[in-house]
């Protein structure tokens, strides 16, 4: 086939999206920009979407709610998206991620859900203090709480219950790991692990969005195996898998579908944006590249490590 007709779902152009656009330009492709705020989706007749004749849409939307709806429309219209709507929805849902990781036996953090203050306090007793509370849908380390005692937990739970949205009265409770001042971000594209970084911060929250500093992380076989297992379980093709080092080995914190790679870019000369774009473009002509049953590519690991 000729050049694919590519769409890119965006909220705004960050450094990553500009790099992706340049990488698409290297293929002679100028993606159709689907800017979430400007879209008017006629849900009952998707002819307008089919008439765009898009072969694939790369999802770089910041707003999870909007992305889920647009990807759903694309799915119904028969337009392939990367990630798929199913993968994006699973990745954005901490509950579903925890259920899937647990069911697949992939090492992850012990996690409970509770729906009342009293049942949440009982769950916290099982997890032990300190513990971490997170919104069921959220990112960038927003609204994370580390609770050190039953008294602090009750105060936080009562406050969350008053926030208004019912989401904040569904209490997602997770064990706290005394990590060595860092966690790991492993970036996956298709069947390749393209780069990894340590994210260090003095604060217990080590999101780059919260100021954590990235440093190169060599991809060991253990890192490769757990990261790829997690990505395949969540069905994401492009993902940032976050891992934490524990006394029991590596555990998965979460899998990010709309993964950012700004921090990673400072740790590797490998062109992550180009790799993403090559994958998306090739997926239009090679159905195998969208397979979720591949294996880790050792050659890309070597490249990521600068070998």
């Amino acid at each position: 086939m000729g050049k694919p007709n590519v769409g890119m779902l965006v909220s705004q152009l960050r450094e990553e999206e500009k790099l992706l656009l340049r990488a698409f330009a290297s293929h002679g492709i100028d993606p159709v920009r689907l800017t979430d705020r400007k879209l008017q989706l006629e849900l009952t007749d998707l002819t307008w979407l089919q008439e765009m004749e898009l072969d694939v849409v790369l999802d770089r939307c910041l707003a999870h709610g909007r992305a889920g709806i647009v990807l759903q429309a694309l799915d119904v219209a028969g337009v392939r998206s990367v990630n798929t709507r199913r993968a994006a929805v699973i990745a954005d849902d901490k509950v579903e991620c925890s259920l899937i990781l647990g069911a697949r036996g992939i090492p992850t953090l012990r996690t409970f859900m509770a729906f009342t203050v009293e049942s949440a306090l009982e769950a916290l007793e099982q997890v032990g203090y300190p513990a971490v509370m997170k919104p069921v849908a959220g990112s960038w380390g927003r609204l994370l709480g580390k609770v050190n005692s039953p008294g602090a937990a009750r105060a936080l739970l009562e406050h969350k219950r008053q926030l208004g949205s019912y989401h904040h009265s569904m209490f997602y409770i997770q064990e706290y790991i005394e990590k060595p001042g860092r966690d790991l971000r492993i970036f996956i594209v298709g069947d390749d692990i393209v780069a990894g970084s340590y994210r260090s911060a003095e604060h217990w929250v080590t999101n780059v969005a919260r100021g954590a500093v990235s440093a190169p992380c060599p991809i060991t076989p253990e890192i490769a195996e757990i990261s790829m297992r997690a990505a395949k379980a969540i069905e994401v093709e492009i993902a940032g898998v976050d891992l934490v080092e524990t006394p029991d080995g590596l555990k998965v914190i979460e899998v990010n579908g709309g993964a950012e790679f700004k921090g990673l870019m400072s740790t590797t000369e490998y062109d992550i944006a180009q790799h993403i774009v090559d994958y998306v473009v090739n997926s239009c002509s090679d159905s195998q590249s969208s397979s979720l049953n591949g294996t880790y590519s050792a050659s890309k690991q070597s490249m990521a490590n600068g070998e």
């Binding site: 705004q12 909007r66 919104p135 959220g138 990112s139 709309g258």
Partner: protein, 54 residues
């Protein structure tokens, strides 16, 4: 090109900008979204919402 911050009126230079890009005013620090490039039209960038993220 010379850009004028719609918030504080500061003038500053940028080599290249694209529609949809977020830039920061070096004077007042406010984040600005590029609405148009020819001529340049800027607006305050949208506030982060609860479901924004990776």
């Amino acid at each position: 090109m010379t850009i004028t911050c719609p918030e504080c009126g500061a003038e500053f230079q940028l080599d290249s900008i694209e529609v949809g890009e977020i830039i920061q005013c070096p004077e007042c620090g406010v984040e600005l979204e590029v609405l148009e490039t020819d001529p340049v039209k800027l607006a305050l960038a949208p506030d982060e919402e609860e479901d924004w993220g990776e």
